[in-house]
């Protein structure tokens, strides 16, 4: 309840400026009431206030800095607040090469994140190992954790990172609020040995 109230205030504030507001989810509207499913409302709220955890290891991390910077401004999508603590983060953005030495750390960070959590693999290295088909580099982070969105590029342009972020928002919006209870999700995590 509190969450929705806060959003209302937010809408009010935004309405006063020139910026467009997010569309309301489909529902039944009448005089004095608006009915929709709770999942949709929560999805809407969540998707516009995602806290990313930037797991930036190398070159793609520099492009992420550009994305965060004033020029591209990821904050426009409700991701102003970077959460360096996994506990409060919603999206794990893995940017850069993950070496095998790093893989356990990455998995640990993922496990520490609270549900609901999403993962975005930014760049060729995080998605597939990229140009480093070597003994020391993990061939894609999907070997250790499940990934929701892959962003190609070496490094992806900030626009691509923003696009990937919007795909995450789409996922968040349209997902059942109880994803973590589904058998599919449990199976998926089981495959990675994560309880």
């Amino acid at each position: 309840m509190l969450l929705i109230l806060q959003r209302d205030e937010h809408f009010l504030f935004i309405n006063m400026s020139e910026i467009n507001i997010v569309d309301a989810p489909p529902g039944i509207e009448g005089s004095g009431f608006f009915a929709t499913s709770l999942d949709k409302v929560i999805g809407l709220a969540r998707s516009n206030s995602l806290w990313p955890l930037p797991f930036a290891t190398s070159c793609c991390g520099i492009e992420f800095m550009a994305t965060m910077g004033s020029h591209y401004d990821l904050g426009r999508f409700g991701a102003e607040r970077l959460s360096f603590s996994p506990r409060q983060a919603d999206v794990l953005m893995v940017m850069g090469t993950i070496a095998k030495k790093m893989a356990p750390v990455l998995k640990q960070v993922y496990i520490q994140m609270a549900e609901p959590r999403w993962v975005m693999a930014v760049g060729a290295c995080a998605s597939s190992g990229g140009i480093f088909d070597t003994y020391s580099v993990l061939q894609g982070i999907d070997e250790v954790i499940p990934v929701d969105v892959y962003v190609p590029g070496c490094p992806p342009r900030p626009e691509a990172i923003l696009d990937g972020f919007q795909r995450i928002q789409d996922l968040v919006k349209n997902e059942s609020g109880r994803r973590r209870n589904s058998d599919y999700y449990k199976d998926l995590l089981g495959q990675y040995g994560i309880k």
């Binding site: 003994y135 020391s136 061939q139």
Partner: protein, 166 residues
């Protein structure tokens, strides 16, 4: 290639001091290069540092020449910043027993360079204060820069040889 006078000087001085121990002197692209032996390497390095003013250790690395009697070359690059001169020293050691005295007593900065060389080539620097792997995981088991080890991870299962024409 013609020897420059500066390089010539150094060469003469080194031969005076170490005689037969300084061999295979050459000068590729103006950089004085010679080969010495592991029993005198530390003396050579200290002599170069103290007497001949090569006070800056640019780099330590190694090269692997499989199949030779002395299959691993440890390469030192030194720099004399005042005379703007560089020098390269090589020591060939055997592949079976790759040991060489450490240069950490001459330059503290040699520490990580030697650790890296140990990690990648397995060269054991005797007397090194902390000879552990530095870049790779401790349980890697091999020294990956040796020529016999492949570049790709041999444990990969998703990469079928037939798709790569192998």
């Amino acid at each position: 290639m013609e020897e420059t006078t500066l390089n010539n000087d150094i060469h003469v001085k080194l031969t005076e001091k170490f005689g037969e121990k300084v061999t295979a002197v050459s000068e590729p692209y103006g950089l004085l290069t010679f080969v010495t032996y592991k029993d005198v390497i530390i003396n050579v390095l200290s002599h170069l540092k103290e007497e001949l003013k090569f006070n800056f250790l640019t780099d330590i690395t190694a090269v692997h020449y499989p199949g030779k009697e002395h299959g691993i070359a440890v390469v030192y690059h030194l720099h004399n910043m005042v005379e703007k001169q560089r020098i390269r020293i090589k020591v060939f050691i055997s592949e079976q027993n790759p040991t060489i005295p450490t240069a950490t007593n001459v330059w503290k900065g040699a520490n990580w360079m030697e650790r890296e060389t140990y990690d990648l080539f397995g060269v054991k620097f005797e007397g090194h204060p902390d000879l552990r792997r530095i870049l790779n995981m401790d349980d890697l088991g091999v020294h990956p820069m040796l020529k016999q080890y492949p570049l790709e991870d041999p444990n990969r299962v998703d990469k079928k040889d037939e798709f790569f024409g192998r």
